[in-house]
């Protein structure tokens, strides 16, 4: 076992060389991203990811074939979607994705998904609404303005003062309705729907609803339905409102019985006669009724935590489940009778669903 100095040096030199080369050569390239084909029959799920983790993503689902592709924004554009993606909107040629905590709205090609342009200079963007062929409004969680942009180049045209923060946006005739969901950064109660005239891009009116209006739709008779959760700290009973958007009259005001419940994700089928919303379970009601349904339409399973709901043009109900918020979520797709058609995986915290057809 006696080792001479010389031998030892040789050993040490060999070890040193081997180790340095081994350790220094361990730098690996990222795995190549597999290509994504052209979008067809596309349903998109916007995955928020975790706040400040930068792991938002976009899931593409072909509703015809049932195929699912994850991380399509990253795979097509080579960059992550960003931090807390919030919503998705479409026009004929483009897809707009609002990435809240990256303070950006991306415009990508509706067929290839390739990056086209972006809007920066935003504070906390939430939703985008096209108001004509060339312009769109962007709502903001913290700013008391809407931002008007040119959708050709995505550059900001102007800011539209609201006096309140904004969330959902809905177009009716030459009016845009904007909900005031968050009470953050305002001394007023967050219980308004603001009305913006798209001719002169100015706020012209507002309608008082319940606290924290979180979603709204227009039905077949052009009545506006607004769902209010009752507040972050459950300040009041949640409520559903039916409003005539022409004269701003409140036609119906229905309160939910449980102050601790937090209904959200109001949506409507394509024919505009049936409302859907989440209140732990999935509920539906005809627009012709004036009472909230007592019974759920689809019950959430024991491990389900339904997060967002969307109704497709063929009246299939898509509902996301964020699981434990730290791993990938899932979407359950139900047919109009409430029968589960397919369950597919999404990214982390699936928060919005968009139907591009």
């Amino acid at each position: 076992m006696k080792m001479t100095c010389k031998k030892l040096y040789k050993h040490s030199v060999f070890l040193l060389t081997a180790a340095i080369l081994f350790f220094s050569s361990c730098q690996k390239d990222p795995e190549p991203a597999p290509p994504v084909g052209e979008f067809e029959n596309a349903v998109f799920v916007v995955n928020e990811g975790n706040f400040t983790a930068g792991n938002a993503s976009l899931t593409y689902y072909n509703y015809n074939t049932g195929e699912v592709s994850q991380q399509v924004f990253y795979r097509i554009n080579g960059a992550p979607l960003g931090d807390v993606a919030n919503s998705i909107t479409f026009d004929e040629n483009s897809i707009y994705v609002v990435v809240n905590n990256s303070h950006v709205v991306y415009k990508i090609d509706a067929v290839t998904g390739k990056y086209q342009a972006k809007t920066t200079g935003l504070t906390s963007p939430r939703h985008l609404l096209k108001i004509d062929n060339q312009r769109a409004l962007i709502s903001d969680l913290y700013e008391k303005n809407l931002t008007l942009i040119n959708t050709e180049n995505m550059e900001i045209i102007s800011r539209v003062p609201l006096g309140r923060t904004s969330e959902n946006l809905l177009n009716y005739g030459n009016k845009v309705f904007a909900t005031n969901w968050s009470a953050f950064q305002q001394d007023k109660l967050n219980n308004m729907v603001m009305v913006i005239d798209t001719n002169n891009i100015q706020m012209v009116d507002s309608i008082q609803v319940g606290i924290e209006p979180n979603s709204m739709v227009l039905d077949k008779d052009n009545y506006l339905w607004v769902l209010c959760s009752g507040g972050f700290l459950n300040e009041e009973l949640p409520s559903l409102w039916k409003i005539d958007p022409d004269n701003k009259n409140v036609l119906l005001h229905m309160e939910f019985p449980d102050i601790n419940s937090s209904p959200n994700s109001l949506d409507i089928n394509k024919t505009g006669d049936t409302l859907y919303y989440l209140n732990k379970n999935i509920y539906r009601m005809a627009v012709s009724t004036d009472q909230l349904p007592d019974n759920y339409f689809i019950r959430a399973g024991g491990n389900d935590s339904f997060y967002t709901l969307g109704v497709s043009p063929e009246s299939h109900i898509y509902v996301t489940d964020a699981n434990d918020y730290t791993r990938n979520g899932v979407v359950n797709r139900y047919n109009p009778n409430g029968v589960l058609v397919q369950k597919f995986e999404t990214g982390i915290v699936p928060g919005d669903i968009g139907f591009m057809y």
Partner: protein, 653 residues
């Protein structure tokens, strides 16, 4: 990269071969008070894995933080948000709160978070650091389910009376370190001071935005300064008193994630002040050692987030100001008695009191913790060592279950320094006060996490003719942590802490070390490798389909090498650290952004010293991230590329 690497390697090897070798210096000669030698035997025949951080390695990084030292030179994994940013340590596949950091035996983990920010621990503020792996930590503290790091202030025989190091680095990074040792046989004064600041405005290629572009890191500066002071007085041949204080003021900006496209109206920063003060009394007579320490720690941590609208920088839209003040008191008493026939008995009591005033809690919160510790050790000449330990805690009027430890080490051959060791233990980690009381989401019904760990290891030490030594060590462990605390979402819009996971962590740690000297040449070479498999095996994980998947930010493979060579007054060091790929989510690794790729970082330094009587001057040049590797330690947090440091040091022996 490969060409330059080969070139450098060849040059280095050539240099080794052509030099004449000589003998002059012995590494790791550690001088401690005799009482310390009795109380701290870091012997190879201990039944536990305990390791002192190499003095040479430490002196190389004395101007940096403990985070830099651990990540480059130990198997401890450091989760690092960027230079100067938050850095936490995890041993053996566990969480940062399962790593306890002690300063002179008193735990400095924040009672709120349960962890320590290692980037705020300057290396020149302690003289030596001991790593206690797994169960070996039970002697000093409880709850270190992964391990503990014990930092000691004190003087080494080799220490200079005065030393001052000034560094100038890239990105306007400056640091000044001062250490001063004064005193007589009876009285000693040790002073250290540290000041570091950086703009930290390094360039990085931001591929998290479209189109990708080179950017300068913003809002990432830091400015930390502090001092430690110790006065020790030997009252008699048997008694010694010491008072030691560590005071530090820290400021850091917190940079945004790479995908953020709105830098200008964002301000996020953290300011903190810590004051840690210990009074020690030590009695040592014949075979009895009595050690009593009382301490008071204070921490004031302010977090501020201010954002304005993109329209008006004066129009603030987010304003979060979190103010957290912590007062902690400690009493720690130990008595050790060496008995006949190589029996040793030691015991002690620990008392810890925390008071936290935070605007994130509803009212003042506190924790009172009383602990009892017993240890019996027995040696059968050189052949066999046995240790039994027992720790019992009484926390806020509730007994936690007892934490026992049993270990044995064997030296099978009288003529060879080969040691085998085995141990097993139970341990309990209390929830952090944030887990209990954070509003909203804190859960006062949380149970302590408890772990069971088994460990085995083999160490072989060989001294060759002359002054050449070789150490080879291999350790394996298997541990189970129950009731692992995680924050999970609720039906309301906040998250809450729950005992949810059952984690199985197992792995191997290998170490090879060679050192020697001949004539004027001194060399040292250390290589380490760790294999860490840490998975959640709870029912929730099984139902969710992610049981068996590696926990996030725990690399399966990691390692490092360190090479040192000196010839007369020249010295050269090389360090490479490897971090294997890490999961960033519980999901399948097939998707790109769920996995961060492996990276290796290398640094070199070249120095020359000059001696003029008792004064030694040294100039050193260091290159970090030598191969300009673009990497992320945390997802979408940029790290600096190749950067440089120039040191000038002045030492008065």
């Amino acid at each position: 990269m490969t060409i330059s690497l080969k070139y450098i390697t060849c040059t280095f090897l050539f240099w080794i071969l052509v030099q004449e070798v000589g003998a002059q210096m012995i590494f790791d000669t550690l001088y401690l008070d005799e009482t310390e030698i009795i109380s701290r035997k870091y012997e190879r025949n201990a039944p536990t894995k305990t390791e002192e951080i190499d003095t040479l390695v430490k002196s190389e990084l004395n101007h940096l933080s403990l985070a830099d030292l651990l990540s480059a030179h130990t198997p401890v994994f450091v989760k690092d948000y960027g230079k100067g940013s938050l850095a936490t340590a995890s041993f053996r596949g566990t969480a940062a709160s399962h790593t306890k950091v002690l300063w002179n035996d008193i735990e400095i983990n924040s009672p709120m978070l349960g962890q320590v920010d290692l980037s705020l621990v300057p290396n020149n503020f302690y003289s030596h650091a001991i790593l206690n792996y797994g169960g070996s930590s039970l002697e000093n503290t409880s709850g270190a389910l992964g391990g503990a790091i014990n930092l000691f202030s004190g003087k080494r025989r080799s220490d200079e009376k005065l030393s001052f190091i000034q560094t100038f680095g890239s990105y306007k990074t400056f640091s000044s370190s001062l250490n001063m040792n004064l005193g007589s046989r009876k009285f000693k004064s040790l002073t250290s001071a540290h000041l570091t600041s950086s703009d930290n405005s390094y360039s990085f290629y931001n591929n998290a935005v479209i189109p990708p572009e080179w950017q300068e890191q913003k809002n990432a500066s830091y400015f930390n300064r502090g001092f430690t002071q110790s006065f020790a007085y030997r009252l008699s041949a048997f008694h010694e008193m010491e008072i030691v204080t560590w005071n530090q003021w820290n400021f850091r900006e917190i940079p945004p994630v790479m995908s953020s496209q709105n830098h200008d109206n964002h301000k996020e920063e953290q300011t903190s002040f810590t004051s840690r003060n210990i009074l020690k009394w030590k009695f040592h007579k014949k075979n009895t050692l009595l050690n009593v320490k009382t301490a008071w720690f204070y921490e004031n941590l302010d977090y501020l987030l201010v954002t304005a609208t993109s329209v008006d920088p004066e129009d603030t839209v987010t304003f979060i100001h979190s103010v957290n003040k912590t007062n902690s008191g400690f009493v720690k008493a130990r008595i050790m008695q060496v008995l006949a026939r190589e029996w040793t008995v030691s015991g002690g009591v620990d008392m810890t009191f925390h008071r936290v005033n935070s605007n994130n809690y509803e009212g003042l919160k506190s924790r009172n913790n009383y602990g009892l510790f017993l240890k019996i050790a027995k040696s059968f000449s050189d052949f066999l060592n046995m240790e039994l330990m027992f720790r019992q805690q009484f926390v806020d009027n509730v007994f936690t279950p007892p934490a026992p430890f049993a270990g044995v080490s064997i030296k099978p051959f009288r003529t060879h320094d080969l040691y085998l060791r085995f141990n097993a233990n139970y341990n309990y980690n209390l929830p952090g006060l944030n887990d209990l009381y954070w509003y909203p989401g804190g859960n006062e019904d949380l149970k302590p996490e408890y772990g069971i760990q088994y460990e085995g290891g083999i160490t072989y030490v060989k001294r060759f003719s002359g002054l050449i030594g070789l150490t080879v060590e291999l350790s394996g462990y298997d541990s189970y942590i129950n009731d692992w605390i995680q924050w999970v979402p609720t039906d309301y819009r906040y998250w809450t802490a729950r005992n949810i996971a059952f984690v199985h962590a197992r792995g191997l740690e290998a170490l090879g070390q060679l050192y020697g000297q001949k004539d004027d040449v001194i060399y040292k070479f250390i290589i380490r490798y760790s294999f860490t498999k840490s998975t959640n095996e709870s029912n929730e994980a099984k139902e969710g389909g992610y049981a068996g998947r590696q926990l996030i930010y725990v690399p399966l493979h990691s390692g490092n090498i360190f090479a040192f060579l000196s010839y007369r007054k020249f010295e050269f060091t090389w360090n490479t650290q490897l971090t294997g790929k890490r999961n960033t989510s519980l999901n399948d690794a097939s998707l790109y952004s769920n996995v961060l790729p492996a990276f290796s970082l290398s640094s070199i330094s070249v120095g020359k010293s000059f001696d003029i009587h008792k004064i030694s001057l040294e100039a050193k040049f260091r290159v970090n991230n030598l191969f300009n590797v673009s990497y992320q330690a945390m997802l979408w947090r940029p790290m600096p590329g190749r950067n440089y440091e120039l040191f000038i040091s002045f030492k008065w022996k």
